[in-house]
Amino acid sequence: MSAASVRRGLWALAALGGGGVAATYFLAGAQRFWVNWLLWFVFGTCLALGALFLVALQHMTGARWSVPLRRAAERIGALTPWLVPVAIVALFSLPVVFSWTQPDAASLTPLVLKEHWLNRPFFIIRLAVCVTLWVVSYVVLVRGSVRQDETKDPHATVRLRRFSPVFMILLALTITDFAFDWVSSLEATWYSDIFGVYLFAGAVTTAIAAVLLAVMHLQRAGRLPGVTRDHVYNLGGLLFGFTIFWAYIAFSQYLLQWYADLPEEVFWFQQRLSGAMEYVFIVLGVGHFFVPFLALMSRDDKKSWTRLRWVAVWVIFMEFVDVFWLISPVLGPGIHLGWPELSFAAFFVPAGLLVLGRAMRLGDDMPTGDPFLQAGLDFHLP
């Protein structure tokens, strides 16, 4: 199949999905529509921010082995500007699905206490600030690096290294705020301090999986000469590590709330652990942790590209299940999975792939202006 016909197929699928998305609003109700919209908004944000995190992490640590792979992460980061329209549309979900905007909210004591934080003007300002910071960071980190392909200016590397720690601080603050605002505050009486880290852990895991797929794809196509199994092996190691990190954070959050057993905290888990949702929870625990954990444990596993490819696809799917588990219970008990969900997937997946496919032509395939590129290509496992 030629690339053009794949692209045409994706357009067709997206158009079909788009029809389903519109139909959802009119046939399945506004609530269902907005919950699905938020799902993809959160998922896309996680993927984009995770990719930017990997780029900044590499600059900050001065890692050399990953220099040839950095462009792949940068290209996935190119999802960031596309978050702007999705975020703006998402604002219309405020009066529909957020518990603190409902008329009875004023009667709940915890919400009265949170009023200075959860009010519409401030909420919108926060979103605007976050998205602006992300787009600016994207321009500095990714566009700056792409420009270096032409200028070959080593000072650009120094500038990026200086900017990266700043970005890390901004990311820590904005992703926490994003998690609190767009996921936690759906059930506004719920508290969990660790929740930002939870979303972050999933975001980075997904981004690593996406970079793995992109790198293997480009390498097979002969576009990354010099990138060897050793580079890919290292990415597999990172994926393994962050899988454990996610599980650690997820379980910590659960354990503390289980122990304390406070009504304003456990109700959130009760919604997500009762009825059919419990199966989703089990799938999530097994699929987001045990499967990749066992599948990537041994050294040989991380050398097999077939296995890495499957695990990466699986991890990305599991991150989606995670976001589903977080957000979908807002609709009430039971699993809300039907044609609206399929339509949203049929719209956002091909749309995302089209954006990413275009992004794969951003700059050279490797950061050819980076003075450490050769050092990165020379990398061998010790």
Partner: protein
């Protein structure tokens, strides 16, 4: 006596030279090769056809065993041996066991990795690697890369080996003998055990001395030293002279329901159990009974619970005919108001749960005294 041959050794200046030499030596028919290098060299395993180390598998098995044994340990101590309630939750509170399981996994895993590497795969306590007596060993640990041709089943053609190593670019060729070492004897073992014992004594006394000589420093005191009222402690803040305050007269809990009895004297006999006999009521009764009553009355209600020896009063046998014949309303009264040395539970158990407990107690009684028709 002639010492047996260990092998023929040659030195190479760089790791790359060593890696290039290996196939050449192999080509001449020498396949039993060993390499000694100052640091781990990438690709040497493949070049020497070394099998993959089994250490990973061993660590995985032992680490899993660590997790499982921790799970069993926690389960036995807190569910079987001394049923323990974690903050009012039912038995088998497994989430609380996961942190110890994680620690068990890591502890056993790392110990297996280190000790397994030393004792299983590197055969400690065997100190006599013949390489240690070669002239080259000093330089191998610093700067040179050594390749050794070991004798195969049919011995070793020393001259051929020397020629092969020379052709592959080896320098400082040396024939290494393998001296016979005696096994560690009684003297060695007593010295080793004595040394460990002496080290323990020194470390123990040393620690005791340090602790006694230097005052203990607390790294973080903020939380400990804050001004606060402690539960059950005297305090001068309030006029009453204690930290905990009594609620104002007439305070009742949010969901408080007074016991609706005909009069103070009738002991609740006239009350009826409002709950139906259903699975969910019995199940609720079971958890509540296990949480609140079983410590004293035992999970079967026999009154012989695990508090027995420490708790001075003898809890009533709930299987006895007095309790069996008592009305539900009377049991409700006992739970709510307490009875002689049994405390009142009105503050801890909601009215519905009290009724559910009574349904469950009835089921327990039936279970120990089933009429013939139940068996058939």
């Amino acid at each position: 006596m002639l010492e047996p041959l260990f092998g023929v050794l040659a030195l190479f200046p760089t790791a790359d030279d060593l890696l290039k030499a290996i196939p050449e030596v192999k080509k001449r028919g020498f396949t039993k090769l060993e390499a000694y290098t100052p640091y781990p060299v990438h690709g040497i395993d493949e070049a020497l056809d070394l099998p993959k180390s089994k250490l990973g598998v061993l660590v995985f098995l032992m680490a899993s065993l660590g997790a499982i044994s921790m799970f069993l340990f926690e389960w036995w101590t807190s569910t079987v041996s001394y049923p323990l309630l974690t903050a009012g939750k039912a038995y088998n509170g497994w989430p609380a066991w996961v942190p110890p399981m994680l620690e068990g996994t890591i502890l056993v895993g790392t110990f297996t990795a280190a000790l397994g590497m030393l004792f299983v795969f590197n055969r400690l306590p065997f100190f006599g690697n013949p390489m240690l007596r070669s002239k080259a060993i000093d330089r191998i640990t610093r700067e040179k890369f050594a390749l050794v041709i070991r004798p195969g089943a049919g011995g070793l053609d020393t001259g051929g080996a020397i020629a092969a190593l020379k052709a592959a670019g080896g320098e400082d060729i040396e024939v290494v003998q393998a001296p016979r070492y005696s096994k560690a004897g009684l003297a060695w073992w007593s010295k080793a055990i004595g040394a460990v014992g002496a080290a323990c004594v020194v470390a123990g006394y040393g620690t005791a001395w340090v602790i006694r000589t230097f005052p203990t420093t607390r790294p973080m005191v903020e939380m400990e030293d804050q001004p606060r009222l402690d539960a059950q402690a005297a305090d001068t803040f309030f006029a009453s002279g204690r930290g905990m305050q009594l609620p104002p007269d007439g305070t009742v809990p949010r969901t408080f329901m007074p016991i609706l009895a005909a009069g103070p004297g009738d002991g609740g006999k006239a009350l009826m159990n409002p709950l139906p006999v259903t699975d969910s009521v019995l199940e609720r009764g079971r958890t509540q009974f296990d949480i609140h009553c079983a410590v004293c009355h035992d999970r079967l209600g026999t009154g012989k619970a695990w508090l027995d020896s420490t708790y001075k009063a003898q809890p009533t046998d709930l299987q006895s005919s007095t309790v069996r014949d008592a009305s539900d309303g009377y049991l409700y009264w006992v739970i709510s108001r307490g009875f002689a040395s049994m405390p009142a539970y009105a503050a801890d158990i909601s009215p519905d749960d009290r009724w559910a407990i009574i349904r469950y107690v009835r089921a327990l009684q039936r279970s120990q005294d089933a009429p013939m028709r139940d068996v058939k």
